[in-house]
Amino acid sequence: MTVELRVDYIACDGRGICAEMLPELIATDDWGFPVVAGQTVPARLLGDARVAVRACPLLALRLEASGPGHHQARHRLRVLRSGRV
């Protein structure tokens, strides 16, 4: 099972807290918006990734799990809401 970072660009307003918390995986574009396209989160950064997800005031960052052993819609909903995998 792999875990990826995803941005909800409609919710995001580019304040950049996520990029500060997780500079290893999140950069910003020239307008301050996070660049995370399909970034796979290595195990050692999962804890920091969860913190970054919870830190977004607009709930615009989420972790998505995929691959074998992954349950579909309900799991994603839990991930979206809690930032936990």
């Binding site: 660009y9 409609i10 307003d13 574009d29 020239d30 307008w31």
Partner: protein
């Protein structure tokens, strides 16, 4: 001119009697599974630009609707917000009953008792008139005026418009087939796709596949515009060579410099490299292009490809829904810089390349990626003209 009859576009008679005389009655098989298999075997893909397999999308909606016990929402997308393309308007005004038939077939296959056709304002009267001509049927088809704006034609934006009156893309997940803006599995099909469905339901998959290629079967509507003698909408078999498509539009009115394929958020190619190719996804792949929604815009040698690209880029930037930072800011920045390049200040090329990389693939819909695709192809095809512009000249003759 296509390989087989009858075609999508009638002979000017849009009424119900003429429709039945031309195509025969629609007898929708009670065996939904068999009909869906027929659609699957036909190889029909969406004609709105994305070319997703129609049967697969319908099956997903039907499956999800059955699983959650809700009736799906079925929408025929005739928004045609792309200013350069006319094929959906032409289809809706010329063969409205084919579109209604197709909406009914789609609804039956998806397990719905109703369908909404969202129609461009110029085709609204024709669609409403056609609906009024029909006797009540098991599937209630209604017509709704489409919203304005380029991104209003995007699938989730159309669904959002039909469901709750706001025409902005909603982003995925969830996919429309799982849960759309109305809270139920939602099927959105371009009106041309629906018309093909109506013909497959009548004549079968083998008939449908007798045009086109084995990998990309069927026919499609193309809009040929720009420097041709007889611009307009015509039906072609997929895979028809580009030069023949242009000849059917009366041939070039001037020496062609370049072609724009797909739509305004499509891909440029030089006339030299493109005219021999088949108009199909396989044929255009080497150009990084797809047939898309069927635009073939011919740029003459007397026009400047960079200026045309700048004009389109400014339009695409103006049409951002403004929901996503990379699109709202990035397209504006790109359009501005491409405009400067078109005006002779080519020092901004590096910035354009940087922003193309930053904007691509980021946003709730594919609008920013489409603009990136257009601009990137212009940088390639009009590469020589960049040098000319830097020297205060232009290759336009």
């Amino acid at each position: 001119m296509i390989a087989r009859k009858p075609g999508l576009l009638g002979d000017g008679q849009a009424g119900l009697a003429a429709h039945l005389a031309r195509y025969g009655p629609l007898r929708c098989s009670a065996d939904r599974a068999a009909l869906l298999r027929e659609v699957d075997r036909s190889g029909l893909t969406g004609r709105g630009g994305a070319a997703f397999p129609a049967a697969r999308k319908i099956a997903a909606v039907a499956r999800n609707a059955a699983a959650c016990g809700r009736e799906p929402l079925v929408i025929g997308n005739g928004t045609e917000a792309e200013p350069a393309i006319d094929k959906d308007k032409t289809l809706m005004t010329g063969s409205p009953h084919l579109v209604i038939d197709g909406a009914q077939v789609a609804a039956v296959l998806a397990g719905a008792a109703a369908a909404v056709i969202v129609a461009h304002p110029r085709a609204l009267d024709a669609m409403r008139h056609a609906v009024a001509e029909r006797a009540p049927a098991s599937v209630r088809v209604s017509v709704q005026r489409a919203a304005d704006g380029f991104v209003a034609g995007e699938a989730t934006a159309t669904a959002s418009w039909a469901a709750r009156g706001t025409s902005k893309p909603t982003g995925t997940p969830p996919r429309l087939s799982g849960r759309g803006p109305a809270g139920v599995p939602t099927l959105v099909h371009n009106v041309e796709t629906l018309a093909h469905l109506a013909l497959i339901a009548r004549y079968g998959q083998a008939w449908f596949r007798s045009a086109g290629t084995a990998e990309e079967p069927g026919s499609m509507l193309v809009t040929v515009s720009g420097a041709v003698r007889a611009p307009g909408v015509r039906e072609i078999g997929i895979g028809t060579p580009v030069w023949r498509v242009i000849r059917q539009a009366g041939g070039p009115s001037e020496r062609p410099r370049a072609l724009l394929f797909g739509g305004w958020s499509g891909v440029w190619a030089s006339a030299a490299e493109a005219t021999e190719l088949p108009l199909s996804a396989a044929g255009l792949a080497r150009l990084g292009a797809v047939p898309g929604a069927g635009l073939v815009e011919v740029l003459p040698a007397s026009a400047c490809g960079l200026r045309e690209t700048a004009r389109i880029a400014r339009y695409l930037a103006s049409q951002s829904a403004g929901q996503c930072g990379p699109c709202a800011f990035g397209l504006d920045a790109l359009a501005g810089e491409v405009s400067r390049i078109a005006a002779g200040h080519v020092d901004g090329i590096a910035l354009v390349r940087r922003w193309l990389g930053q904007v691509d693939g980021r946003g709730a819909c594919s609008h920013p990626s489409g603009a990136v695709r257009l601009i990137r192809s212009a940088m390639r095809v009009f590469d020589d003209d960049l040098a000319e512009h830097a020297a205060g000249r232009c290759e336009a003759v």
